[in-house]
């Protein structure tokens, strides 16, 4: 893929100033999303996936946040240097978001129609001049696209009158109504019941396929990533530790963290649950040196404590893991000969 990626995040580091020092939450995140691609961002609570997204949208509050380094390019333009006007355009037209909790995402005192029409109207300078009927027409179309029956009536109802699943459909409709190039979905099904989540995710999948929208799906549920995305980034403690096409990631998880995570997922086929990954996520104020995963890693070597591993290719550049085990074989041998980790 030679064309400019839609979104490119390079070496992004973000800290938070708090009592007692700095929390070094993001530690060199790299992320690329191409046009029409569906990318998953997986990691557990506190791994920095939400901070990454907030920084991309420039909605992370500064202070306490401090962007230490990094570049974020959306369609080749540097987001970190954008002026307010450009940011508004980017958020209005370029990028849309869906949140975990559709109840919190909709304002309870306005009707679905008022909110949806506002989203359509304020998307860009030209949509602001759109006649009322046109806005209304688009709102109806947005709702019928998300498979909601009787959209006309729905426009006049309040969020409280809808079920959780319907609200999330409305949110999806709203997010896609401005025809964004990138859709960021933050745990889009987590607040819903399983059967409803399944419907909503299938709908989301179908729509972004049809519209060719790029997607970043943020979730901690590996199963959802497998169902929807083309490529997956696995994050741990503020860094991307593995990236791979979805199929390859599930067939051959390579980073010890990814392996631990996969093993920890309880299987529908039974066979018991593994004890998971020992230890806990690091203290961001004093993160471990070198690879941040090394205190919990079953394969830790002395080098892991000294040096932060870069993303290394596994077979080819499509699948990379930030782990010294995937260095050149002779180097790995040398690392291992250094003896146990003290």
């Amino acid at each position: 893929m030679a064309e400019t990626p839609l979104l490119e995040v390079k070496n992004l580091s973000v800290s938070f100033r708090v009592y007692g020092g700095m929390l070094r939450v993001l530690d060199g995140v790299n992320l690329t999303v191409h046009a029409g691609e569906k990318v998953g961002l997986v990691g557990e609570t506190g791994c920095g996936k939400t901070t990454t997204m907030k920084t991309i949208l420039r909605v992370v509050p500064q202070p306490p946040a401090v962007i230490n380094s990094g570049e974020i390019r959306f369609k080749g333009r540097e987001v970190l240097k954008m002026r307010q006007r450009e940011l508004t355009d980017m958020r209005g037209q370029g990028i849309s978001m869906i949140f975990q909790d559709p109840t919190a995402a909709l304002n309870p005192v306005f009707t679905v129609g008022q909110q949806l029409e506002a989203a359509i109207r304020y998307a860009s300078a030209e949509s602001r001049r759109m006649p009322r009927q046109e806005v209304r027409r688009r709102a109806v179309r947005a709702l019928s696209e998300v498979a909601l029956a009787d959209p006309e009536r729905l426009l006049d109802s309040y969020p409280a009158q809808l079920s959780g699943g319907m609200r999330q459909r409305v949110c999806i409709g709203m997010a896609l109504s401005t025809e964004p190039e990138l859709l960021i979905a933050d745990e889009p099904g987590t607040a819903l019941d399983v059967t409803i989540q399944d419907q909503v995710l299938r709908l989301l999948h179908r729509l972004v396929e049809e519209k060719h929208t790029s997607v970043i799906l943020i979730t901690h549920t590996l199963g959802i990533v497998r169902q929807i995305t083309d490529r997956v980034y696995v994050m741990y403690a503020g860094s991307v530790v593995e990236v791979a096409p979805t199929r390859r990631l599930f067939a051959q998880p390579s980073h010890p963290y990814t392996q631990g995570l996969m093993a920890a997922v309880p299987r529908l086929s039974g066979g018991g649950i593994s004890d998971g990954i020992p230890g806990r996520i690091p203290d961001y104020m004093n993160p471990p040196t070198g690879c941040r995963f090394h205190p919990r890693c079953p394969h830790a070597m002395p080098v892991c404590k000294r040096q932060k591993p870069a993303l290394l290719a596994i077979e080819d550049a499509e699948h990379q893991a930030a782990c010294f085990l995937y260095d050149a074989p002779e180097r790995v041998r040398a690392y291992q000969q250094e003896g146990g980790l003290t």
């Binding site: 708090v18 009592y19 007692g20 066979g271 018991g272 649950i273």
Partner: protein, 312 residues
Amino acid sequence: MLNNASQPDHAVGRSAIDPHRLAQIERRNRRERWGRAWYKFSRNPLSVLGLIMVVTITLMAIFAPFVAPYPQHAEPFTDFANASKPPGGQYLFGTDEIGRDILSRCIFGFRYALVMGVAVLSLVVPVGVLLGLVAGYFQGTIIDTIIMRVTDIFLSVPPLILALAVASVLQPNLTNAMLAVSLMWWPWYTRLVYGLASALRNEYFVVSAETIGAGTGHILFREILPNMVSPILTKMSLDMGWVVIIGSMLSFVGLGVQPPTPGLGTMVAAGARFLPDQWWIAIFPALAIVVVVLGFNLLGDGLRDLFSAEES
């Protein structure tokens, strides 16, 4: 079926129950809590200003006889030679119509203002909190209905009129003014605590204590009450300012501190006659009221920020 966890050996971790170490850990916990609190509080310079103002006023009030340039001017005293002197070198805030130093009287005025605030709050807070706690925990029962309806009745009487009525039936003096203000003040604490308690009683830690079989006393005072110390403290700080204002109002209309005792409100009332020519007689005591109220309000806002940030 899959567990291969070896039986943990039941060696008791002695170090954890060593009293010396225990005290040490508790000290460390406390230090960390205060450090964190101060860090958050000090983010807002206005809160720090409020704290400084409150501390200064309190110290001045406590040590008034040593701080005031003319402590005897707070007592019955006349010096017609120096009557109605404008602010200047000898009398920083000037003197009143019978020659008393206004600065000294303001410093003593802080005393009565703070005494009033502290006394009213120490009457009002325990009563209001207890009633609110009980009503909130027993929400929906007859206990709740009785307590909250009585509270409503008190809230529906215009506060100043209630205070005026009480103060005028009884002897007009500081004690009765405090009683009058207290009478109209406790329902606000009941209201506040009622809301907090009726939310907290559904928290799972309260339900847990119930399913374990803890008594009502334990649940009210050990589980629920410690979780609302923050909003109560915040309200107390904001209320100090209010009590001072109400007290001054009562004094202003002659129902509070009686002359020659230097109540700030009394001084404003007495000085009002000489406006605008001898403006300093009324304006400086009025400013003193402003300073007290502002200090406590800034402090209260700081506390509120501190505690609301603590939640997240």
